[in-house]
């Protein structure tokens, strides 16, 4: 097969290199780089920000959407969905969000919960040229 003849073009050294590189790739997928600790929770309903709260204070609150109210709680530095009027409850199943960039969403109720880090709001999020 063509693949076999292609593989024969790799010397022994090449094969080792490829294996090492492949391991590097696997490690890079597993290693969670540059995830900063979250600092605040931003909740968007229908793409408009309706609620923000710091991540370090325990709190329970509700956000309303077209289907009803979604209850959220911030506990121990993480935010999660307690209850929601959506049919499949996927948002509850998404679990906790605690690092910067983490996202939870209740799509039927059009609610997106984001965790933002310290520095955000200052750096630009789009560069066009």
């Amino acid at each position: 097969m063509a693949l076999g003849s292609a593989l024969r073009r790799l010397t022994l050294f090449d094969r080792y290199l490829v294996v090492i590189f492949a391991l590097l790739v696997v490690v890079s997928f597993l290693f969670p780089f540059s995830k900063q600790p979250g600092a605040r929770v931003v909740v968007d309903a229908d793409h408009r920000t309706v609620y923000t709260a710091p991540l370090n204070e325990n709190r329970t609150f509700e956000v309303s959407g077209p289907l009803g109210d979604t209850r959220l709680t911030i506990e121990n530095g993480a935010v999660r969905v307690l209850s929601s009027p959506c049919p499949q409850k996927i948002c509850i199943g998404m679990g906790e969000a605690h690092q910067a960039g983490d996202l939870l969403a209740c799509v039927p109720n059009r609610i997106v919960i984001r965790v933002e880090g310290q520095a955000e709001g200052e750096s630009y999020d789009l560069l066009s040229r």
């Binding site: 790799l10 022994l12 050294f13 290199l17 490829v18 540059s34 750096s123 040229r129």
Partner: protein, 195 residues
């Protein structure tokens, strides 16, 4: 094709220049086509021009490889209208790091390493160079490094493909009488003529 009345050393030098010019032209063409092809992932390029850099490296040595890469980047970006743009900086940094890794690996590991190994290192260098400069100069947001695993995976695959293609090209070229005076550097002892 070979002239017996001409000094063979000079003939070989001229041949080398002509072939490098051809390689550069091919590399620029490949670069331009890749850049212009529509793709859902704009930063993920196969880097087919690297095939020509590899061929130059294995036929004529590290200096030739640098010549091909730097010329390809300059002429390619001039042609595409991206000279001195941020994209050009990324391309240049990727290309420089890639060629650095390739020529060092070539000089250090010469008989053992083949075009595929060198190509894989080149792809790694290219991607790392680009991400590094993108992080330092353009996007200072650390989440750019989240793209690293995907870039690495893509570069591994394209590195292998380019390496195999370069190996096939070298095999084919070495059969031609124009290259009869030099054997592929690395696998066998060479009669390479340096200028």
């Amino acid at each position: 094709m070979t002239s017996s009345a001409v000094d063979p050393v000079q003939l070989e030098q001229v041949r080398q220049r002509v072939f490098l010019a051809l390689f550069i032209a091919l590399a620029v063409a490949l670069h331009a086509v890749e850049y212009l092809l529509p793709s859902p992932l704009p930063w993920f390029r196969f880097g087919l021009s690297n095939i020509l850099t590899l061929t130059a490296l294995f036929l004529y040595g590290p200096r030739a490889a640098w010549t091909v890469t730097l010329s390809r980047i300059l002429i390619g970006s001039l042609l595409l209208g991206t000279l001195f743009s941020p994209g050009f900086l990324l391309s240049l940094s990727g290309g420089v790091l890639a060629t650095l890794l390739m020529t060092s690996a070539f000089s250090l590991f010469r008989p053992h390493i083949g075009p595929v190994g060198v190509s894989v290192l080149g792809a790694l260098g290219h991607v790392s160079g680009q991400l590094l400069i993108a992080w330092l100069l353009i996007v200072r947001h650390p989440s750019i490094w989240l793209m690293l695993p995907f870039f690495l995976l893509f570069s591994l695959i394209s590195g292998i493909i380019n390496g195999v293609a370069a190996d096939m090209l070298l095999e084919f070229l070495l059969k031609h009488p124009a290259f009869a005076r030099l054997k592929k550097i690395g696998r066998e002892q060479t009669q390479k003529i340096d200028h």
